[in-house]
Amino acid sequence: MAKPVKRRLRKLLPWALGLFAGGIVLVLVIAYSGIFNIAASAGHPAWMEWFLRLGKDRSVIVNSQSVDVPELDLAGLVPLGAAHFQGGCATCHRMPGQVLNPVYDQMLPPPPDLQTHAPMWTREQLFWMVRHGIQFTGMPSWSGHDRDDEVWAVVAFLEMMPSMKAEDYQTYANGNAGAISKAQNYSANEIASQGRPKISLSACDRCHDTSHAPPTSPYVPSLGGQDKAYLQRALHEYRRDLRQSGFMEPIAVELDDEDINNLADYYASLKVLAGKPARSLSSEGAGLGRQLAEHGDLSRKIPACLSCHGANKRPDYPRLDGQSEQYLRQQLQVLQRGVRAKTPHGAIMTTIAKRLTESQAKAVAAFFAGQSSTEYAGHKAGEGLR
């Protein structure tokens, strides 16, 4: 009984192979002939639409399963995510209180209106899409390599957006540059000649500190009072894709050398706002942070932070005092992952950051967050040369 079946199968084999080869040839012929219409205007037939959607959705669901969600500080992350959405995503995905741009709406597939679509996805899935992008849809992957920490800010915002009123959104998205949106009445002449004024992507005030306000998010560094050389270096590194940030890189490429020079001058002379008191830290932790900052840890070969970041530092080294604890911790983690090792300055700090334990990183971030610039100017390491 078994034998004839086997024999029959063996007879069928050449037919199956032939059919398979024929199928491949047919696909090639169709592709080469150009009879398949790929025009965005043509749209997809219903069966194709169903098939593509199935493939895309399943891919997002399956691939996002390995995503680990960290604890998200929503209040801190939303302003940052909002400002980036405004600068990078809103063009295609529509901001609250606006209609979808008719040009981008003609893409195939059209970019989804995230106010209705974002709630359809889980946190992991949103993260995966923003982080990796989606093939053939025009959705790019995150431009800051290995900066997952930044992607979470966008995810936090996307979860919040559907319930946001247009005014709230504007407040978040324009940040410290908010004043411009309040003056709504532009003269016809103004609009006719220059267009309706809008806040450019390169408006630093959207996130960073101004003379009257601190940064909009604790994950944004305060720039006022940093040395010019450091500010210039940072912007050049972002522009040349040497320092990774999905937020800062697209902004830095819009700046030319002169802009960078002027901005660096501006922030170097911007006076530092008297910082908010740092988060309370146990006295043991505070002691550890101070110890590391002033003396380092000989057993782990960690030099004193203030030997590079003290008052007598090189102008191209950053000042740390008065930065938020969250920002400093995040940067230490980015350094520990080796993301900043591509730049010569980053390479120095990468070596040191990798020697810090988690509790040391936490303590030292808290220590600098608690220091105001006046406090540390009187520190021992800040004394002049002998």
Binding site: K301, A304, S307, R314, H345, I348, A381
Partner: protein
């Protein structure tokens, strides 16, 4: 073709082997009483082993192809007892006792009065050298050992991290530096000269590049040198290099006594300009050497624990190098 390659390889191996005969880092040079006794022991053992090998070969030849009478004699019980049991016991015991006596040579040095006391701490991958003065004070230096001739030297060996082994072949046998322990090495240098030492226990990535110079000096020269070493660095003529050293963070790891630089993580640089080498016996101590070390030390000595400082302009590198080289 094949034989050509083999010949080349042989040449190379012979050259390499000959390089070992350079007396600077050779156990055969025997420049002190301890090492010369060790050298004597090596020769006694080598000659003895050679004689015994020849004798055994002869016996084997006889037992295979010798006259029947001789072969018969070799099998007697008396020969086996004397040749197989008594002879090895006597020879090995004699060697052991002789070995103990040589070990004791270091021991008698230990009882010598008023030795020169120096501590050496093995670090990945350099040597922290601490000179102990008679008045109880200490002077820290690094990657170079200076000793007076004719006086007993007592070196305390310890480690800051993993197991290292301290070996100056020309003066003494090697002694391990073991975490949690302090081992003592005694030696005497017979005459002035410069030899090299090396870490002799694999201790991680840059182990092979963990070397140092040992300079034996006439006692008067040594005293003068130590007095100078003990002093703070002279104020820099040109402040630019010193300013760079302090502002770039070098002071976080390195000490230059007499300045604000008081880092303890890396080698003390107070008188680094007067040392024979840089990077623990790796580069010549010149202005160019400093420049090379600062800008490219991770390629010169891969995995060493100093962060890469690829941030200086040509001019900055030059002033920093000039400053460091001036620390004599």
């Amino acid at each position: 073709m094949m034989t050509h390659t083999i010949k080349k390889m042989l040449c190379l191996m012979i050259l390499l082997a000959l390089a070992g005969c350079d007396s600077r880092q050779s156990a055969f040079s025997g420049l002190g009483p301890v090492s010369s006794r060790i050298t004597l022991l090596i020769w006694i053992m080598f000659t003895g082993a050679a004689l015994i090998t020849v004798f055994i070969c002869a016996l084997m030849a006889i037992s295979i192809a010798g006259p029947a009478g001789w072969r018969q004699k070799l099998t007697t019980e008396k020969n086996i007892v004397w040749g197989g049991i008594v002879f090895p016991i006597v020879v090995l015991t004699a060697l052991l006792i002789y070995g103990f006596l040589i070990l004791n040579a270091g021991g008698t040095l230990a009882q010598a009065e008023n030795p020169v006391r120096i501590s050496v701490v093995g670090e990945q991958w350099w040597w922290r050298v601490i000179y102990r003065h008679d008045d109880g004070h200490t002077t820290e230096s690094a990657n170079e050992l200076r000793i007076p001739t004719g006086r007993p030297i007592e070196i305390e060996l310890s480690t800051a991290d993993v197991i290292h082994s301290f070996w100056i072949p020309a003066y003494a046998g090697k002694i391990d530096m073991i975490p949690g322990r302090t081992n003592i090495l005694h030696l005497v240098a017979d005459k002035p000269g410069i030899v090299t030492g090396q870490c002799a226990e694999y201790c991680g990535g840059a182990h092979a590049l963990m070397s140092f110079y040992t300079v034996a000096m006439a006692p008067a020269d040594y005293d003068a040198w130590l007095a100078k070493e003990r002093m703070n660095a002279k104020p820099a003529h040109v402040l630019e290099g010193e300013q760079l050293f302090l502002s770039a963070g070098c002071a976080g790891c390195h000490t230059v006594r007499g300045t604000r630089a008081d880092g303890k993580i890396g080698p003390d640089l107070t008188h680094v300009g007067s040392r024979l080498s840089l990077g623990a016996g790796i580069l010549p101590n010149t202005t160019e050497g400093f420049g090379k070390w600062i800008s490219r030390h991770q390629t010169i000595k891969p995995e060493n624990l100093m962060p890469p400082f690829d941030i200086f302009s040509e001019n900055e590198l030059q002033s920093l190098s000039v400053y460091l080289n001036s620390l004599e």
